[in-house]
């Protein structure tokens, strides 16, 4: 039983999380106060979208540097449409999601058609999308956000549960269902594991690449919209610091950067770990600048651990294959 649990991606990080919460609560009983939990859940909900947006691209063995730029563009589009054109917020949200989808779709088409590495393509589109953001806003935030959006972005509907938890939970479940229960998800993981074999078994690799990038864009846009609610403004700098977090959470959750292997639950726990660390630094009034350092160390620790597990698994497979 324990053996099986240890082999999953999410069990180790979950133990770390629970132990961490226990230790912090001993030193600061306030840590699990309803208000603190609400703050934690708000951060986790929005950051989970960022992590999932990168995770789906890691699943196909690529990377998307433009996650933050797409999120930022969707965020200012959402806020701008409400302020400048007076579009009601649900419609503005749908249109902003559409922009994210389109931006991701463009990434996917460029990668699939040209065969140039996703790194270079998304570095170029990162700059293009961020430039559009700055060109539209001239680096000035949109402040006229409807009250309802501010409420949805910050308030709770039940105990310490904020409204933002609802879309986050929905996306988590849908993404898990997509990746591990639908043929499309299996195709995505197959392409990440071995594109050549996937192509031979009748999967259209370029179609899967486009779909994965479109989903990534959609999730990044959702993250951007959630940030507008949380910050109560359409700030052009939304998305600027997403890059490192977007990789940290999936790799903490056991994702292999070579593709084909990701964990939705693990990624979510990765987001929780990062949120707790940020919160702990605030609770103990430790320099917030250290978050950067800890994030970097976490990535190194996680990729090192994944690497060890990989080597271990290979050795076991080799031992099993050897005749007794």
């Amino acid at each position: 039983m324990i053996r099986t649990l240890l082999q999953t991606d999410w069990f180790g990080p979950l133990l770390v999380t629970v132990a961490g919460i226990a230790v912090v609560t001993v030193f600061s009983p306030n840590f699990l106060s309803p208000y603190n939990v609400q703050i934690l859940l708000l951060a986790i909900s929005a950051n989970a979208m960022i992590a999932f947006s990168q995770m789906i691209i890691i699943a196909i063995g690529q990377m998307n540097l433009s996650v933050g730029a797409i999120g930022g563009l969707a965020a200012i589009a959402f806020a701008g449409m409400m302020e400048v054109w007076g579009i009601p917020w649900p419609l503005a949200a749908v249109l902003a999601l559409g922009i994210g989808l389109l931006a991701g779709f463009a990434n996917g088409v460029l990668v699939a058609v040209t065969g140039i590495s996703a790194f270079v393509i998304t570095l170029a589109t990162l700059s293009a999308y961020k430039g559009m953001n700055l060109g539209i806003t001239e680096a000035q935030p949109f402040y006229q956000i409807p009250e309802i959006v501010k409420t949805l972005g910050n308030e709770t509907f039940l105990g310490p549960l904020p409204w933002l938890v609802i879309p986050a939970v929905l996306v988590t479940v849908l993404l898990w269902y997509l990746l591990f229960r639908l043929p499309l998800g299996r195709a995505i993981l197959a392409v990440g594991g071995n594109p050549h074999a996937a192509e031979l078994s009748g999967i259209s690799v370029s179609r899967i690449v486009v779909v994965a990038h479109a989903i990534s864009g959609l999730l990044a846009a959702l993250g951007g919209i959630m940030f507008v609610g949380r910050l109560q403004q359409g700030n052009p700098s939304i998305g600027d610091g997403w890059l490192i977090l977007s990789f940290a959470a999936p790799v903490i959750g056991g994702a292999l950067l070579s593709g084909g292997h990701v964990s939705v639950a693990g990624t979510l726990i990765g987001v929780v770990i990062v949120a707790i660390i940020t919160q702990v630094l605030a609770v103990f009034s430790i320099d917030p600048f250290l978050v950067q350092v800890l994030l970097g160390l976490l990535i190194l620790w996680a990729v090192g651990l994944n690497r060890l597990r990989e080597v271990h698994a290979q050795r076991q497979a080799a031992a099993a294959a050897r005749p007794a």
């Binding site: 700059s127 680096a139 950067l257 950067q292 990535i299």
Partner: protein, 344 residues
Amino acid sequence: MADIDASAPAETGGGTGQLSPVARALLSNEFGLIVLVLVFAWIFTGISPAFMSKFSVYALGRTAAIDIMIGFSMMVVIITGGLNLSVGAIGVCAAMTAGWLMQAFGLPWIPAIFGGIAMGAALGAVNGLLIVRTGLHSFIITLATMSIFYGVMIFLTQAESFREIDAAFAGFGRLKLAEGYLSPLLVVSVVVAVLLVALFRFTALGREMLAAGANPRAAELSGIRVDRMIAYCHVLSGALAAVAGVMLVARNGAAIPSMAGDVGQNWLLPAFLGPVLGGTLLTGGRISVLGTLLGALLVTLLNSGLLLMQVGAFWIQTYLGLLLLAAVLMDMARRRYLARRKLV
């Protein structure tokens, strides 16, 4: 040709034999870049004669000098087929080290900048060792170290600038050569370019670095210590990023923690634009020093030309992104064309 290719000696007897050296030079990436630089300079001057004014040319050269150096710092790790996301973070760390040495210890500028460059090389060595020892891809390692380097630097400096820079150093940054047209920073970049060409063309070390990048297994079999070469490339990359950071201090007259953006990511685009435009292969083993220099020059030229045409400073980033896209697409088309005509 400034193309430096690990497999160059083997190639001369191949399909390219039918082409004269002149034709090969005309087909090269570098020639294409020179033409583009001249054409755009001519267009911009036609639109606004102020483009060729003394001040404009001087400012262009000064900006280009730093972008060229950033491009070199990425180029030397692309050799290994890897990349270095932490160039910006290293550059700022080195610049802050130099600034700190000058402000806190009153060190003269020459030892201070060597301190900064040593810091850059040391941080590059950290990258190199981590990559070689863990066997993990340089992308994820340098993603982590960019966060760590930048975080430690911000923590130590508390995001404060060092403004008490040696006056002689700030004076060097403002110096005007060649009747006011030429910035000494550009001279530094050109000198570094010549040194890099010398390293990769004429020294065993440079050739071994290229061979290790082109085909690690073959290099290993022929007795090259591939791991060591990869680590050296990262040390060199750190040192070059440090030079770029220190040049930025000379230009600004202060060492500012935010001068490369959050975690130094604003350097990423120029870092890749120069080498990619210049025809460096991202898979490693083939670089072009002259191409990287010309690529960075072209980007700076377009940048200031667009600003001159008042297309709106806020849109510049979009154009640069589209330029990188256009560059990689054109390079792909060029290679397909050459392959179809069996020219290479």
